[in-house]
Amino acid sequence: MVEALIFVLMSIAAIAGGLTVVLARNPVRSAMGLLGTLFAVAVLYVVQLAHFVAAVQVIVYAGAVLILFLFVIMLIGVDTDETRDENLPWQRPVVIGIAGVIIVFAGALTLFGDFQWVPGASNAVIPEATNGTIQAIAEPLFTDWVLAFEATALLLTIAAAGAIALAHYRRKEL
């Protein structure tokens, strides 16, 4: 019951945040919308017992990534409001068309297609099985997934090297 309430509230929050990202004219507002979504989704994680991931979400995403976004927004100018005019011909009708098709398709699938999100869902959900505490996560992370964990090292190396390669100008190059 509590879960349902939280689910409804947070879902609304997440979607509202998402819409803000898309619809706000000022990038700062978009970033704020994204922040809202991130938090709301984090709450939905928690509700589903994904504690560790929720924490990471808040720390890494909301804490670091979003700040980075804001920095860049500030760097390249907060006042770059977008107009609502669409300057590409056909872009808007096409987007509306795509959206329409997706919605119709999703509706049809739900109503007539015997669609199940999780066809293999077990009847008895055992909360302990997916209680994503640090301990619980850590075990697969460092056994089954150890290689993936190592691979993230590559990713971060690239991010660092790439950012330097792209954005770091030596003095004489400016």
Partner: protein
């Protein structure tokens, strides 16, 4: 259960590459040596990685011969050391080596940032190498991202021109978009099967009949889109011409080739292993993508005036041809095609770089006018590679096309083959255009200076194209042995 399972051999090549990349960066920071020194580090790591790959190949063959393949499953099923992976990895390493040689001028011209570029190339190769070996969709995604992000950066590395950064942002935005779509597909397949492992999924689908498979099918579709983007299959190809044109010439061949190899190996692994159960559903779709790619790529290439854009569209068409092999349902044709095409591609872009400068943007057809007189060897190599891409007999391109067509035919997709052969005729038309300009127009411009490494690379790729066109058996045998587990 609490100890991780480490198989050094299985990740040996990637490890070597990553260490190599780190070394390059460190040496650069510490000693700021000549690029040549970095090059030898890079070369050493490539050679070592190649050696390890060879060891893997023999290990894999022994295991298959002994009918005990457990040793080929590493890191608790996270990655595999099967022939499929090793073939893809070998192709990646060869392409990397050739590309670095061909683009050597580019790296040198980058000055101090050459080290970063070299490191990124090595890391990208490592990433894609992980990708081809992955037996886990998330692992695969990680490898994909390691590779892709490196490529985004490499695209934007030159600062001399504005188009390079346009290409980078386009590539980055669309690539991330496609990655997001791909990983959503992974999530949906996970929702449908409770598995992230490829062999796990196939085992699951073998054992259970999913009553409502829509979620899996949507997931498959999204993964196909994500990977289709990487291999620049239509209609996800738009980025390719712009990026090929805008990215530094010295690195385009590499970007194009590795993305295709890794992308197609992943597609083949996922479709032909993991979700093979649904082939009746997805093969027509793949056939559709193949046909659209072949036709669109060929027709669009016909009207290009820039060789790089032309090659990009031809790449779209080639994606379609390789897809035809996927439609055929067997992987050996695809692997052979990837091997020969990527070698040709690197060679062709080596020529482009030689003609228009390695850091340049675009490569107008006019620059090739009368090249047969100014630089006969270069023109002849380029012409030969183009004919190889066009699939003329006695080039590897013909055998490759023949292979995928034969697969598709025997799988019952005769109509796809018919359209494919017709598309290859249209494709021929634009390759010929370049040859016409090189051979049949006169131009008194200066002779081109072809750097020695480029000559080597061209020699290798021309020789390979000819050799595999005349005596393809050994590579075909290898490709046929390189089966996914």
């Amino acid at each position: 259960m609490t100890t991780p399972e480490i198989s050094w051999l299985a990740i040996g090549p990637e490890l070597v590459l990553a260490v190599g990349a780190a070394l390059v960066l460190l040496i650069e920071v510490q000693w700021k040596p000549a690029t040549r020194v970095l090059g030898s580090a890079v070369g050493a790591s490539l050679v070592l990685a190649g050696g390890l790959t060879l060891v893997q190949w023999f290990a894999a063959r022994d295991a298959v011969d002994a009918a005990d393949t457990t040793s080929l499953v590493a890191f608790r099923g996270m990655i595999l050391m099967d022939g499929f992976a090793i073939f893809g990895r070998s192709a990646l390493l060869v392409v990397t080596a050739l590309s670095i040689a061909a683009g050597w001028h580019f790296f040198r011209a980058l000055g101090r940032r050459g080290a970063e570029a070299l490191a990124l190339v090595l890391l990208a190769t490592a990433g894609f190498s992980i990708m081809v070996a992955s037996n886990n969709l998330v692992m695969l995604f990680l490898g994909l991202e390691v590779g892709s992000i490196s490529l985004y950066v490499l695209t934007g590395m030159t600062r001399e021109n504005q188009k390079s950064d346009e290409a980078a942002i386009k590539y980055f935005l669309m690539g991330s978009f496609a990655s997001a779509i791909f990983v959503y597909g992974v999530a949906l397949v996970y929702a449908g099967t409770r598995e992230l492992s490829i062999t796990g999924i196939s085992g699951f689908l073998d054992g259970f009949i999913v009553n409502s498979p829509s979620v899996i099918l949507i997931g498959i579709g999204l993964m196909v889109v994500g990977l289709g983007f990487k291999v620049s299959a239509a209609p996800f190809h738009n980025w390719a011409p712009d990026v090929y044109q805008g990215a530094p010439a010295g690195i385009v061949g590499y970007m194009a080739a590795v993305a295709k190899i890794a992308g197609f190996v992943a597609i083949a692994r996922i479709l032909l292993t993991a979700v093979q159960e649904y082939d009746r559903a997805f093969l027509p779709v793949i056939a559709g993508i193949a046909i659209l790619s072949m036709l669109l790529g060929s027709v669009m290439a016909l009207v290009q005036t820039d060789v790089r854009r032309m090659l990009a569209y031809s790449g779209v068409a080639h994606a379609g041809f390789i897809m035809t092999g996927i439609v055929g349902g067997s992987s050996d044709g695809v692997l052979f095609y990837l091997a020969v095409y990527s070698v040709q591609l690197v060679g062709a872009f080596a020529v482009v770089a030689a003609v228009s400068g390695s850091g340049s943007v675009g490569s107008d057809l006019d620059k090739y006018r009368g090249m047969a007189r100014r630089s006969p060897a270069l023109a002849a190599s380029f012409a030969f590679l183009l004919l190889g891409m066009a699939g003329l007999p006695l080039t590897s391109g013909f055998i490759a096309k023949f292979g995928v067509f034969a697969d598709a035919w025997s799988a019952g997709y005769e109509w796809v083959v018919v359209i494919a052969v017709l598309a290859s005729v249209i494709a021929l038309a634009f390759y010929l255009r370049v040859i016409v300009i090189m051979y049949m127009d006169d131009d008194e411009s200066a002779r081109l200076v072809v750097p020695r490494p480029v000559r080597w690379v061209l020699g290798v790729s021309v020789a390979a194209t000819l050799l595999w066109g005349v005596l393809p058996a050994w590579l075909l045998d290898i490709a046929a042995d390189a089966l996914p587990l």
